[in-house]
Symmetry: C2
Subunit: 319 residues, 2 copies
């Protein structure tokens, strides 16, 4: 076994490469702009250049056991990125990214989706350390999930399991339209984007005063809702209650599925703390099957300020 692995957090904006040691310290880091490249080949070339730079201080690529990549729409089984809407060189096709890095670097490369990588990070180095059954929910632009069952990530038959942002929370005709093509998806309510959407809806429904009215409605972001709620703004607090309630309902159904020891929340929205966590837990308690009541823990990621995605992805490098 070689002493280091590389973890890669491939996001819509940046791709961060980190050299990680056996105890989970990121000891070298570099990054490139994901969208700057026209083709996957150009992206891989830039990535390899960045990797070669960060492995220099630790004695070169020969000291790297393997590479783990966390990326949107990544398939663990095939090592491909498939139709990723926010990546220009992968939005309309299937890119065999793992294979391309293997060809250039000659070491094992494994890939999984970003939420799965974050779940691995929590399991190895974060609040879910040692847990064999938990569900990680990433509340960002979308809602992602990494599900751990019997100590392992759930990939499903096709490698795409854990799309919990797309379970249906509203089957009425006027349910929100989701980017995936369905209606009423959890993501349309409980992502940062969903919270902003709720804000616009709530402001339109009433003429009550709100700090949120100080900004043009189409410019409101979830952070504005947080700041307003902190100042006691009633409508902002109602937006959090609404969002948290839907998340609590969803978690109650997830428990019926895999009865996790904990739900781990990750992403900007969680920085709102009790504003979002209290309504989640209240709705959960009311809606979970009595058999499961008071069992699951609700915790916020401990790796949000560290690079959970790089750490999590790096775990795949040891395999």
């Amino acid at each position: 076994m070689k002493p280091y692995v590389i973890g890669v957090d491939l996001g819509g904006t940046n791709t961060v490469f980190g050299v990680v040691d056996a105890t989970g310290n990121i000891i070298q880091e570099g990054s490139i702009k994901t969208g700057k490249y026209k083709s996957a080949a150009e992206f891989v070339n830039a990535g390899v250049e960045c990797i070669n730079k960060i492995v220099e201080p630790i004695g070169g690529i020969d000291n790297i056991q393997g590479i783990g990549i966390g990326a949107p729409n990544a398939n663990y089984y095939s090592g491909t990125i498939e139709f990723a809407p926010n990546i220009p060189w992968a939005h309309n096709g299937i890119v065999p990214l793992a294979e391309m890095f293997i060809r250039e670097l000659g070491i094992p490369v494994r890939m999984t989706n970003d939420a799965n990588a974050a779940a691995m990070g929590e399991k190895l180095y974060g609040v879910a350390k040692g847990m064999k059954n938990f569900i990680m929910l990433t509340l960002g632009t979308g809602v992602g999930a990494g599900i751990i069952v019997n100590g392992e990530l759930v990939y499903g038959h096709d490698g795409f399991a854990g799309e919990l942002g797309h379970i249906c929370m509203d089957r009425s005709e006027d349910a929100r339209v989701c980017g995936c093509g369905l209606r009423g998806c959890l993501e349309t309510y409980c992502s940062a984007t969903g919270v902003a959407r709720t804000a616009r809806e709530f402001l339109q429904k009433t003429t009550r005063p709100s700090l949120l009215r100080n900004k043009p409605a189409d410019k409101i972001e979830s952070l504005d809702v947080f700041l307003a709620a902190q100042k006691g703004d009633e409508i902002a607090k109602e937006i959090f209650d609404f969002t948290g309630t839907i998340l609590g309902w969803a978690c109650a159904d997830f428990t019926a599925f895999s009865s996790p020891e904990a739900f781990v929340f990750f992403g900007g929205l969680c920085k709102s703390g009790d504003l979002i966590m209290k309504p989640i837990e209240e709705a959960y308690k009311k809606n979970v099957m009595p058999l499961f009541r008071n069992k699951a823990k609700f915790v916020i990621s401990s790796l949000m300020d560290k690079n959970a995605a790089v750490l999590g992805a790096s775990a795949l490098g040891w395999v």
Copy 2:
């Protein structure tokens, strides 16, 4: 390794014991009445007597590797039956049934819930042979589930995972009340009891003629709905469409969770064939995330006339 195991299907009415060989043949069988006994101890005594009888022809208990029991409200981790509403000697407490049989027989005894046992049966001997990811749905008095992920049953942190009959399909105020204490549970719509409930509701809502009106409303069973639908009764067919649609919605959400290779359906309702399967598949297709479309298979158990529960439970005996 000894040549035989015993599988036990502990149901509300009968408990069936079967001696099973290594290729999955039930070569001896016996049964007792589950509810006839006042205490768990009396039940275990009668069970041991029955076991001793059926192992006689194969050379006695020394030729049995272990016993697997499938039972309602059974906990795999603790080997207990907990608050099982339909079992008089286990309805208001925790019965350490596995331990009690071990004490009497001196061989390993493992227990799991009945739907999990059925899933194991399908995996080893039925339509899910060789599948590493599938979901078994048992449509009986209730709706049970056995979930296989990465080749293993999902037990969750507390041993009670897979309660898919209790995910919420209707969050409106007038959603159906479930025996579990919640409202809108899948089970209240898609169990045999749920189908009968739908029949009563549909008949009351309209004055349209129906064969189902030939029976007092409170005596209608799911079988009556099947027989009427077979004869072309419109309301009966609408009842199946309604039931199947809700099941299809649920399966679409289950796919977002574990992306199974197949859904395996078991229980009396499946004998209605296309009447129930077609609306399931149609609703599924419309409601599953496009990423998963046309992937999962929908199949009916191949072990319904054999004893799937005994076979499935017996698998635990080899461990």
